[in-house]
Symmetry: C2
Subunit: 343 residues, 2 copies
Amino acid sequence: MIRREDGAGGRYMTEFLKSRIFRYIESRAGEIALSDMEDSADFDDSYVLTTDSYTAFPPVFRGGSIGSLAVFGTSNDLAVMGAMPAFMSLAFIIQEGFDGDIFSRIMEDIANSAKMLELKIITGDTKVVEMNAGIFVNTSGIGVRNRHLEQNLDVVREYRDYPFRWVRDCGLRSGDAIIVSGSIGEHGIAMLLEREDLGFEMDVESDVRPVWFAVRDAMDAGGVVAMKDPTRGGIAETLNEMSEKSRVGIVVEEELVPVRDDVRAVSDALGLDVMSLANEGKVVLGVIPEMADDVLKALRKHDRNAEIVGYATDRFREVIVRTPIGTEKILPPPALDPVPRVC
Amino acid sequence: MIRREDGAGGRYMTEFLKSRIFRYIESRAGEIALSDMEDSADFDDSYVLTTDSYTAFPPVFRGGSIGSLAVFGTSNDLAVMGAMPAFMSLAFIIQEGFDGDIFSRIMEDIANSAKMLELKIITGDTKVVEMNAGIFVNTSGIGVRNRHLEQNLDVVREYRDYPFRWVRDCGLRSGDAIIVSGSIGEHGIAMLLEREDLGFEMDVESDVRPVWFAVRDAMDAGGVVAMKDPTRGGIAETLNEMSEKSRVGIVVEEELVPVRDDVRAVSDALGLDVMSLANEGKVVLGVIPEMADDVLKALRKHDRNAEIVGYATDRFREVIVRTPIGTEKILPPPALDPVPRVC
C-alpha cells in the first residue's frame, strides 16, 4: 500500500524510491543516474532534464499559485545544477467543473513566470478527469550549459579536483561554507495559513520565485560546489541529503539561519520545526571557503537575508544544529511534510 | 468552468487550447510552435520534447497498464516526428492507500517497456495525495534526430520541396497516400470492456505498443511526409487534424480500413464509430504516392494488417469516407471520447 510518507520528500520517500522505483528502472544517460536523486539529470554535455508534478492545495494562495509554482519550481531544479532554465513542457490534469476564472489566473501566472525567465513552453497536454482532483500541473524542464556554470567550475578547479560537469549534491568537502540564499519557511507557513484558520493575523506570503538569477550571480563569483533548493522537507532534508551524498557532516549555527520573526512565531506556536518547512524560492549552497564571502555578496544583491549558516565537517552523516548557548542537537531528515500538498 | 470535452482530444479541445492556453503562452524554440499542436516540439536541431499525462482507468487492463501506456504513448509521440525515443522523465501522482502490488505491476511494465525501446528514464518525481485520484502518470520524452529520419527526408526531397526538419502533420499534399499501420479501435474497446460489463464475451486486448520500429522501417523505405498516432479521437480526429494543418482534403475507402471483426461487432452494437475509438500502438502515415507500396511493405513486416486506406485531395477540410456502395459521408472530428479516461 502506498503511504503518505512515501511521497513526502523525507527519509521514507528515499526508501520508497529505492525499493519500489530504482530497482526496476535504474538508468543514466550522462554522469547523473536516476538513483542519484539529483534535481535534474544530464542527457548530453549541453542539457539536463527535470520533472515535477505540482499538487498544491489550494491552487491559488498568498504570493502565487500552482502556476507560478510549476514554472519556478521546475526552473529551480534546473538552476541548482548550474543549468540555465530554457525549455519547458506543461501538462494539466483538471477536474471536470474546475473554475474557469481560477484556471485563467493560473495561466496568467504561468505566462508571467515563463516571461520573467525568458523560458519557452514548447509542448503540452491537457486531461480533464471526472474525479475529485482539483488541478494538478506537471512541468518538465530542460536546462542548458552556460558561461556562468563554466566560469564557476573553472574557479572551483583552481582549488580542487571537481570531477563533475554540473553542480552536484555530492560536491561538498569538509570545511566548505553552507550558505542559505534567504529567509526560510515562508512557503510552508503561507500554505498552512491558507488551509486552516489558525487564528493568526499575519501577512506571510509564499516565497515562490526563480532562483536562477541569484544562482547565476553566485556562479559568476565562483566556487559553488553544491546546490539544492529546500522544498519538501525544508533545509533539514536538504542538508541531510547533501551530507549523505557528499559523505560529510554539516554544522549549522541556529542563530545564523535567517527566519522571519512572524514565521518563527507561528512555527513555534504550532510546534513545527522551521528547518523542516517547505521553501519555493531559496537555495542552499556549498561553497569553497575562500570564495564564501564573494558568493554571499553576490547573493545579497538579490536577498539581503542571505547568510553563511555553517560549514561541512568530516563527521559523515552528522548534521548538527548548534544553539546560541552552545549545545548541539542532531537535525534529522523529516519523515513527513508538516503541511501536505504544499508543492 | 472546465468541461469534459475541453480535454477530450476533439474539436472542443482545440477551441479550449486556443482560447485558454495558447493566448497566454504561445512560444517556439525551433520550427515547431506550441500552437502547432504537433506531437512533439523541437528545441534544437537534434532534439524534440513531448509530454503526456496518463489517467487511464482502470490502471491495469487487458494488454497492458498505465505503465506501458506511459512509456509507449510518449515514445510514440516522439516517433511520429521521425525522432528516435531516447530519454524520459517519469512522474507519479498516487492516491494514499493505492495497492502496492498493482504499483509493482505498473513499475514492471514501465521497466520492460523502456527496455524494449532501449530508452533511458533519467529523472522522476513522486507525489502521494489524499484525494480520490487512483494513479496518474506523466512521462515527458526526448527524441533524437537519426539516420532513418535523414534518409526519409532525402527521399522526400527527391520528389518535392519539404521545408521541415522533422516529419510534420502539415506535410501532406493532394495525391499523397494515407496508410494505417494496423487494425484500429482495439484500445478503446478493451478499455470499455474493462469498465463495463456489457455482456460481450470477447478477447480484445489494448494495442498499446511502440510504433518506433515500424516507423523506423517506413522511413528507411522513404517518402513519409506526415505521421500521427491516432489516440484520443481515433483516426477520425487524426485525419481531420492532418487535413486542417496540411490544407488538403482526405478520402478514405471504408472497406480498406483494417478493423477486427469482433471490434467492429461491439462497436456497431453500441452505436460507436470505430473511426473515433482510441488506439495506442498505431500510426497514420501520409506518403508520397510513388513510395506508398514500399512503405506499406515495410509496415507489413510489423503488422500484416497495415493498409493504404485512401489519399489526400485538394478539397481543403473535406474529410470523407467512401462506402463500399459508393456513397460518401463526411467524417467529422469527434467532440468527445466515447470511453473517457482511456489514455
